[in-house]
Subunit: 171 residues, 2 copies
């Protein structure tokens, strides 16, 4: 092996080791961000159509739904039940405004604000709520992104102050 | 260079390249999880002592606090203001029960349930709320973990149903 060839091997080796010393994979690859944007758009579309079947396909099988002032729902069957009950009495519409989207490897998150409008099917003025969402995302083996953990809360004041419990009489 | 030495270099090279083909760094290293557990414990301790200065040091400088039914607070100055106002009238205590803790590289999250007890300093029975928290975590250059995004919501029903807006009279 000539000196120059040996030098070439040594250089490749150094470059390989240097590459290994930077452990995290590249974050926010354009194809990942594009797929997450499409996922968010699909959620808005399916929610607006009360399409339960399409909605639950946007979540992982073990997804954890943490709806404000609701019990936790784990998995698609629980989601189907909850969404079906909601859509039975309400026409729903949601707007999402992302503020921060991050993806690295198979993990990511999306954070932003929402405005939800629920219009009772029985008539009456719509109920509007605004707040923030924070969802964790997982990339499947097929390269597609799904929601794995879903939490939101409201920026609106409570409808009335939390009642102050009264001490029992005679104590 | 002897044949055996060349073989040795080639082997190291192959191993280096093979290591590089596994992009994500190891997740949930014991030292990271231990530090995140300590961070959670420090939050509980400092909150129970109404120690604003200690609390804000557990958050990144650009942390986003999304308290339920509260406006978003960004950064430590906003946190100091909000916490100082809360602790002025209430003695606070919180219990956190983690359900899922994850760390990879400099990113992580912690998710679980909370029970918060606010006791008015002016007297009266405590106000209790229970719910879930989801926080994003960041590891600093010093190897310590901090909270970067903080959201929680309640599993308790709203104090009263959201009022249905009535149509204006005469319409």
């Amino acid at each position: 092996m000539s000196r120059s060839a040996l030098f070439g091997v040594a250089c490749v080796l150094v470059v390989s080791v240097a590459a290994c010393s930077t452990p995290p994979p590249a974050a926010n690859l354009p194809e990942d961000i594009a797929k997450i944007n499409a996922l968010r758009a699909a959620f808005v579309d399916s929610y607006g159509k009360s399409d339960v079947e399409a909605l639950v396909k946007l979540y992982t099988a073990d997804a954890v739904m943490m709806g404000n002032h609701q019990p936790t729902q784990v998995g698609r069957d629980a989601m189907v039940k909850g969404l079906t009950e909601q859509f039975a009495t309400m026409n729903a519409k949601v707007e999402l405004t992302p503020e921060e989207t991050w993806a690295m490897g198979d993990h990511g998150f999306d954070r932003g604000t929402y405005k939800v409008t629920l219009t009772p099917k029985a008539g009456g003025a719509p109920i509007i709520d605004e707040g923030r969402y924070l969802v964790l995302l997982a990339k499947g083996a097929d390269g597609n992104w799904l929601v794995s953990r879903d939490m939101e809360n409201s920026t609106q004041p409570m409808p009335m102050p939390m009642p102050m419990p009264m001490p029992a009489k005679g104590k």
